[in-house]
Amino acid sequence: MKALVIDDSATMRHIVADILGGLGFESSQAANGREALDLLESGESFELACIDWNMPVMDGLEFVAAVRARRRWRDLTLMMVTTEGEQGQVVRALAAGAHEYVIKPFTPDALASKLVLLGLLRGEQVP
């Protein structure tokens, strides 16, 4: 399975991609929502996008809304991975169309458990 990791921090992109790699995902990376949209528009397909909230050019919430507005990307699973941890922000992200929400800091098994919820991983695959 293929994942798109969207975060303006290269370090965080590598951490998330490493965890996903351990779970059998092949990852591409984008530094903001606009770069991620460009990848999608170029025809690359992904099963999962892990999305930071605060990024330059296009933030994570705008990216979620842009993806949800396009029928051709309706099968892409959207998971916020962000430091934004207020209840109202989780509500906003879900209302915009995000499927799941992970608040930093997180552990690798937390990310894996969310992928189980999303049907992208089986329970026995969680390390």
Binding site: A93, E100, I103, P105, T107, K114, G123
Partner: protein
Amino acid sequence: MSISAGTFTFVADLVRRCSAIELPAGKEYLVESRLLPLVRQADLAGVDEYVATLRTVPHCAEHDRVVDALTTNETSWFRDFTPFQALTQHVVPTLAAEHPDQRSLRVWSAACSTGQEPYSIAMALLDCAAGRSVQITATDISREVLGRGRAGRYSQVEINRGLPAAMLVRHFARAGTEWELSKAMRSRVTFTQHNLLDPPPAGGPFDIIFLRNVLIYFDLATRREVLGRVRAVLAPRGFLLLGATESTFGIEDTWEHVATGPGCLYRSNTRSSA
């Protein structure tokens, strides 16, 4: 029950050395609850005595078991997920069809640790068992984990572990750096200290028993004894949910496996019940 500072330091050092996982001060309850099954198998009186024996010998397989106990089977919300699908999609509809006049649903979450399992059950049953009063009995041998369960407050790291975001916003509120479960959800769960080798807790007979990732820590004779006690307090044709790697096979032949896809779901095939 508690453990000495020396015991905790030794175990924390061992786990750190072997797995790089930190057990900061305040995690004494975790060390105690995870090591108790090993203490029982070694037929010793307590965690302090068990660890004292480990300190006198070079690193061996028993030390590895301690590390495994502390680093695996972390409790999480909706753990493995499929048992909760089986609960809402098969168990509750089956019980409703077989007992249409029954207005209550009694559930026992055994070895519940800090409460994630019984509260996950409460959240899962909120919609699918509407019209029935749900009573969940949650038990563990450690008073400390029960206290945490009763409080219903969880750190961000604990919340991230398997709790669906939709459930987070529906049932929790921010409480400083932690999240607090709603009073409505907490009121559905009664926490009680209980050793699985003692007579069953009050609150039964139970329609559904969660006994997940517990039997694996016991020898065959103890598994048989525990399953017998569970069967006696399970309502006739009630459901038993075991962990993903557990089975009643070869322990007791009075159980039938229910094929519902992934998930270890069983029914007692005897109609005699306490």
